[in-house]
Symmetry: C2
Subunit: 216 residues, 2 copies
């Protein structure tokens, strides 16, 4: 397809596509003449991923380039490709508190106990090597500092629910035929499903609260 059709089918303006091409976020099309190039479904898919990262995930362009480098590195196994791309995504700003204050030490201990209880052996092995592990410790430490001392027992049912959600996520990812699409969908899902889960969670709180206490 020509640039105009790529723009129409993706809903991304031509000027924006040209910008992505210049920034190396999209592979150049196949040259068919001095002034025109041909694009295919792979371009369309990549464009959707880039748009998800930039528009919804508000990921900076340099980071998008890094994420795509991992996504495209087929010398790596699938877990590492998906993981490496996720690890490059921006995370919540971390609080300024000292790394080794009491709350962080307590939180690290509770997260360790949790991972043992639910039997997440990879998470235990990787430990603080994984930025996601660190985010969890920081989030638990923040709760602790603010007077909500969440321990492993309180987190366990949530961890099991989130594991069920993660299994569904991967089942969805596996419906895509090619390896490249699976990895791309896993990255897009990490960004795009979170707002849905968050909204469902709040809506469920509203619903359950009305059931328990009524609306008036």
């Amino acid at each position: 397809m020509r640039l105009a059709e790529l723009s129409e089918r993706s809903g991304v303006a031509i000027a924006t596509i040209k910008y992505y091409l210049r920034e190396g976020l999209l592979q150049p099309g196949r040259r068919v003449s001095a002034t025109t190039a041909d694009y295919d479904d792979e371009h369309l898919r990549r464009l959707r991923l880039v748009r998800a990262l930039i528009q919804v995930g508000q990921v900076p362009v340099a980071t998008v380039r890094e994420v795509l480098r991992h996504v495209d590195d087929d010398s790596l196994g699938r877990t590492i490709r998906m993981g490496a791309a996720l690890w490059a995504l921006p995370r919540e700003p971390e609080p300024a508190e000292e790394d080794d204050d009491e709350a962080m030490v307590t939180a690290r201990g509770e997260v360790d106990r949790l991972l043992e209880t639910v039997g997440w052996s990879t998470a235990r092995e990787l430990g603080s090597l994984s930025p996601v592990h660190r985010s969890l410790v920081v989030a638990v430490a923040t709760l602790t500092r603010l007077g909500y001392p969440w321990d492993a027992a309180l987190m366990e049912p949530y961890a099991r629910l989130m594991h069920q959600a993660a299994m569904r996520d991967l089942d969805f990812v596996e419906t895509y035929p090619s390896e490249a699409e699976k990895v791309e969908t896993a990255v897009a899902a990490a960004i795009l499903f979170e707002p849905v889960l968050k909204a469902l969670h709040r809506l469920a709180q509203e619903e359950e609260s009305a059931r328990r206490y009524g609306l008036s």
Copy 2:
């Protein structure tokens, strides 16, 4: 307790507490002399909530004031107090797209079907009156535009998982003795639990991915 002790026990600097007092986010202490005031556990609790809203939730001061007004309005039922406070919290920025583009219409239909399937009657009744309902429609429309057409059937299992999470949230809220503490905890929970759930979700994705595809 005196201001110095309130600062020490809450971990909030004296200057910051004075700022919150000036801004009306914290009730003045009980005057015991021309220069000193006495604070109690209610001040400590309120300070933690304000800190959760501002530090973790990055809620602007004017909005914090609005949230607290709802929290403190005991003429309202519990669902409304918790809901009204949640509704005043900042939400994800909404995309600039037209309200009635095809994706929004489709998303609204799928959300309606979902709510019917899972039997969330309050959510159906309130509909777009609830900002949370609207966030869900916008999130689903974004997925649809980016080539991931999520329908009611795909969302249903996630909605059921999030309902289980919401039941746990409210069970936790109900462990607090007073009505004021219950409402305060519900608001704090909406802000503070989300980073924990998000981190647990990503960690579970990592774990499940390693189980299915190995680490190399």
